[in-house]
């Protein structure tokens, strides 16, 4: 009784019933009320919970049961229950079906990649909407548009949403979609975990958005305790959302690591691995090692808020430093989780459009892993003026500045690859080149923050804010759009309207810089971060930034229009290898078959052998027999 045996199309309403997103939502909401009721019963008799009109235990229980309902409704319980009942293990019935498989639990990594792309994309645009609303308030030096509390919630929602969603911005859509294909595998190592990592993401996003209903979050994305301990129940949403995303990040890191380490096709030696896969591998290591610390620190806030512990309360034996250390021990690797996949993407795109081999391949790998290792040793540079370990400040200054050496490798790779190249200015190439410009400014401004005397001026000011927007927005987000324009012909089988794409690029590039470069000056002119009121003489600067930010937001609408136009209306079929790339993924037909490769290919050559005379094709797709083990 396989699914293909059903030939009669069932009516729409019938197809909505079953294990899918709708059921997940219904069970999730039902689970929320059940959990909140159970939590209410647990809280009776605890004065600190019931005296405040907000029962944090009830809210946590609600989120927990809601999450369980969401996952059960999606069908995550079916497999373990089936195995308990003695059914044989199988994956394929999760992978067939038409467009509805995008709204269900599906273990095909290509479906999950697209789910990630659109799922994260939606939350990315909500985060961007928050940024627009923030800039609206900052048109005036005193709160005129939104009251102060609501403004802080916007800040927190924008920051947390963006950090949560951009953590898997490239690994989610492109890592899941292309890593198995690029290493010559038919699937990921743990396909069900892969599906779980995706479906935790919208749950986390929705939970975070529910913070609005519980009074908002007044503490930004960093959620410093004890401010987050004392905040209203919106903090519960922040804690749960971050917990879930940390869990998702840990799982995706382990999954990708296992896939890359164990499932490479024969002949895919470490020196033939595409540089994007190296970037994903380095990021996965960071995710698997850093994210559990976030789980720990969020659990501690959860306990402080609901179980009356005092991890972070100085007057009850705790310490705010504990939070700051744990949070940044996660938080600093996190910013490289946001940077490394971008390195991978741009170094993947450059050789294709420079028509040259990647210059200094081993140096690029060394750079990525140098960043990975060093990123665990720098976290206290966020705490230079916090008053802890003053004697260690030179050490963290040194490690922080050391990290610019491996980062510099990536720039040398790019410069070497462009040297005497045959550059084609396609849209992905434009985004890759813009990445280097933005990341250069972002990285060099980071040197100011690593030098303690200079950091005393800039710490906690708009300078920091401009710095990390240059690295994350100017770096990662530009790399993300480069990846979309590069790979969408393969993922969706259609080509983008190039004119709209170029308008999008130039609007985004120009107004990104006009938005964030003046903010370095705002930081130098003593404007602290996260304020809704500022010195009146900075109003013209902020008005200029707001106007640029609106245009930056408009450039995103141009992208959306292009996406809808190309996907829904124009639908011009893409060539199978429009960029003439040597990448393994481009040698496959469009759309890529469910199992990717009919037979596991044998890799015969590296992916960047452009211009090399006598370079063999990248792989043998119909090997007669597998080569002997050990080759």
């Amino acid at each position: 009784m396989s699914a293909t045996a059903i030939t009669v199309r069932r009516p729409v309403w019938r197809r909505l019933i079953g294990f899918n997103m709708l059921t997940g939502l219904v069970l999730g909401i039902g689970g929320w009320f059940l959990g909140a009721w159970i939590g209410g019963q647990m809280a009776i008799g605890h004065d600190y919970l019931v005296g405040t009109d907000q029962n944090d235990v009830g809210i946590y229980m609600g989120y927990l049961f809601g999450l369980i309902g969401w996952l059960v409704g999606l069908g995550f319980a079916n497999y373990p229950i089936g195995r308990l009942l003695g059914r044989p293990p199988t994956l394929r019935h999760h992978e067939t079906g038409g467009w509805t498989r995008y709204f269900r639990l599906c273990t095909d990594h290509k479906v999950i990649g697209l789910q990630y792309l659109f799922g994260i994309g939606i939350f990315f645009f909500i985060g961007g909407l928050n940024a627009m609303l923030m800039r609206t308030e900052l048109l005036r030096p005193v709160e005129q548009v939104w009251p102060a509390g609501q403004y802080l919630t916007l800040v927190g929602l924008h920051g947390t949403m963006m950090i949560m969603m951009t953590s898997a911005f490239i690994l989610g859509p492109f890592g899941n979609y292309f890593v198995p294909i690029m290493i010559g595998a038919q699937r990921m190592a743990f396909p069900r975990i892969e599906a779980l990592t995706f479906w935790l993401t919208p749950a986390a996003g929705l939970i975070l958005m529910s913070a609005i209903a519980f009074g908002g979050i007044p503490f930004g994305w960093t959620g410093y305790a004890p401010l987050s301990d004392q905040a209203r129940s919106g903090a519960d949403a922040y804690v749960m959302a971050f917990l879930l995303i940390a869990l998702s990040m840990t799982l995706i890191g382990i999954n990708l690591m296992a896939t890359i380490l164990t499932m490479r096709a024969p002949g895919m030696s470490w020196t033939r691995l595409p540089i994007f896969v190296w970037g994903v591998l380095a990021t996965s290591v960071l995710m698997a090692l850093a994210s559990p610390v976030l789980v720990a620190v969020m659990s501690m806030v959860l306990m402080d808020r609901s179980a009356n512990t005092s991890f972070f309360l100085a007057s009850a034996g705790g310490s705010p430093y504990l939070y700051e250390n744990l949070f940044w021990f996660f938080g600093h690797p996190e910013v490289y989780i946001l940077a490394l996949p971008g390195f991978g993407i741009v170094l993947e795109i450059l050789p294709v459009f420079a028509r040259k081999p990647l210059w200094g391949y081993r140096l690029a790998v060394a750079g990525m892993f140098g960043v990975t290792i060093l990123s665990f040793m720098v976290w206290q540079h966020h705490l230079f003026v916090s008053g802890m370990n003053a004697g260690l400040r030179p050490f963290y200054m040194l490690t922080t500045e050391l990290i610019s050496i491996p980062t510099g490798f990536i720039f040398l790779n790019a410069m070497g690859t462009l040297w005497r190249a045959r550059i084609r200015f396609t849209v992905p190439m434009l985004f890759a080149l813009a990445f280097f410009f933005n990341f250069l400014i972002g990285g060099l401004s980071g040197v100011f923050l690593s030098d303690v005397p200079s950091d005393v001026t800039t710490h906690g000011s708009y300078f920091v804010m401009a710095h990390f927007h240059y690295t994350i927005m100017g770096g990662l987000v530009f790399a993300f759009f480069g990846a979309i324009y590069y790979w969408l012909p393969k993922m969706m089988g259609v080509v983008f309207n190039e004119r709209l794409a170029k308008i999008h690029f130039w609007l985004m590039f120009v107004f990104f810089n006009l938005t964030f470069f003046p903010l370095f000056a705002a930081g130098f002119l003593d404007m602290p971060r996260r304020v809704s009121t500022y010195a009146p003489h900075l109003q013209w600067l902020n008005d200029f930034v707001s106007a640029s930010a609106y245009m930056l937001g408009f450039s995103m609408l141009v992208f959306l229009a292009n996406l809808v136009w190309s996907l829904v209306f124009a639908r011009i079929p893409a060539a199978e290898n429009p960029w003439a790339s040597r990448g393994l993924e481009w040698q496959l037909p469009t759309p890529i078959p469910v199992e990717n490769f009919a037979r596991i290919p044998v890799i015969t050559s590296g992916p960047y052998e452009y211009g090399v005379t006598g370079a063999p094709p990248v792989a043998d797709f119909m090997p007669a027999a597998l080569p002997a083990a050990g080759s």
């Binding site: 729409v12 405040t52 009109d53 909500i126 609303l133 509390g149 609501q150 209203r232 809808v564």
Partner: protein, 219 residues
């Protein structure tokens, strides 16, 4: 479904979703209490406030809050006050909450008021024992800070539901201060009086309309 119909329904669904999200966020942003103007003619404006230990009605029946009397003599749940610039504001606060005590005893002294004094239950004082304070009324940017004496813990006939009436146990605090240039100034309470919240500064202490507000000084 035909392709046109499907495209149309997808587009309609997206538009509906976007509208829903925007409505969800913006409807949270625009919630702001009504503006209450002071009464009386230049150069003196009168404002009458009360503080209650628990509001008694939705959405936060257990929260401590300020209320303000509007021009019709009705108590309104708001903390956004409007007074003219370069004038004297006469403030009367009926205080129905019991004492919590100041975290920073420094605020036990009336500051920035006309004459540097306050009038509590008919007596002119230059300092209040910080342990007796229930709340403060402070406009830091104008230098104004006045402690409000709490009702005795064992007082009879304590108020439980806002708005409280003067027949219930209360203290009366009167003082005046001068407004300066036009502008929008924040005002707040410095007593950690938010019951149940850690460090006493969550919930109502961080919510405009409860223990925080704006003083709009207009031309």
């Amino acid at each position: 479904m035909s392709r046109t119909a499907r495209t149309f329904s997808v587009a309609a669904g997206i538009a509906f979703g976007v509208a829903l999200i925007v409505y969800y966020i913006v409807s949270y942003l625009v919630v702001t209490p009504p503006v209450i103007a002071g009464t009386g003619a230049q150069p003196t404006t009168h404002l009458t406030l009360q503080t209650v230990a628990s509001l008694g009605f939705k959405p936060h029946p257990d929260w401590v809050s300020y209320l303000v009397r509007n021009q019709n003599g009705k108590w309104v749940h708001s903390t956004i006050l409007r007074v003219p610039a370069n004038s004297t504001v006469d403030l009367t606060i009926y205080q129905f909450d019991t004492a919590t005590g100041l975290r920073n005893p420094f605020w036990g002294e009336p500051q920035g008021t006309v004459g540097g004094t306050m009038n509590i239950d008919g007596k002119s004082l230059t300092v209040l024992d910080p342990d007796l304070a229930s709340h403060t009324f402070a406009i830091p940017d104008l230098g104004v800070s006045v402690p409000l004496k709490g009702v005795a813990d064992d007082a009879k006939n304590q108020c439980s539901i806002a708005p409280c009436n003067l027949g219930e146990a209360h203290t009366t605090v009167k003082f005046s201060f001068k407004t300066g240039k036009p502008g929008k100034y924040r005002w707040q309470c410095f007593v950690p009086c938010a019951a149940g919240f850690l460090l006493g500064f969550g919930g109502p202490m961080q919510s405009i309309g409860y223990m925080d507000g704006y003083l709009e000084v207009v031309k």
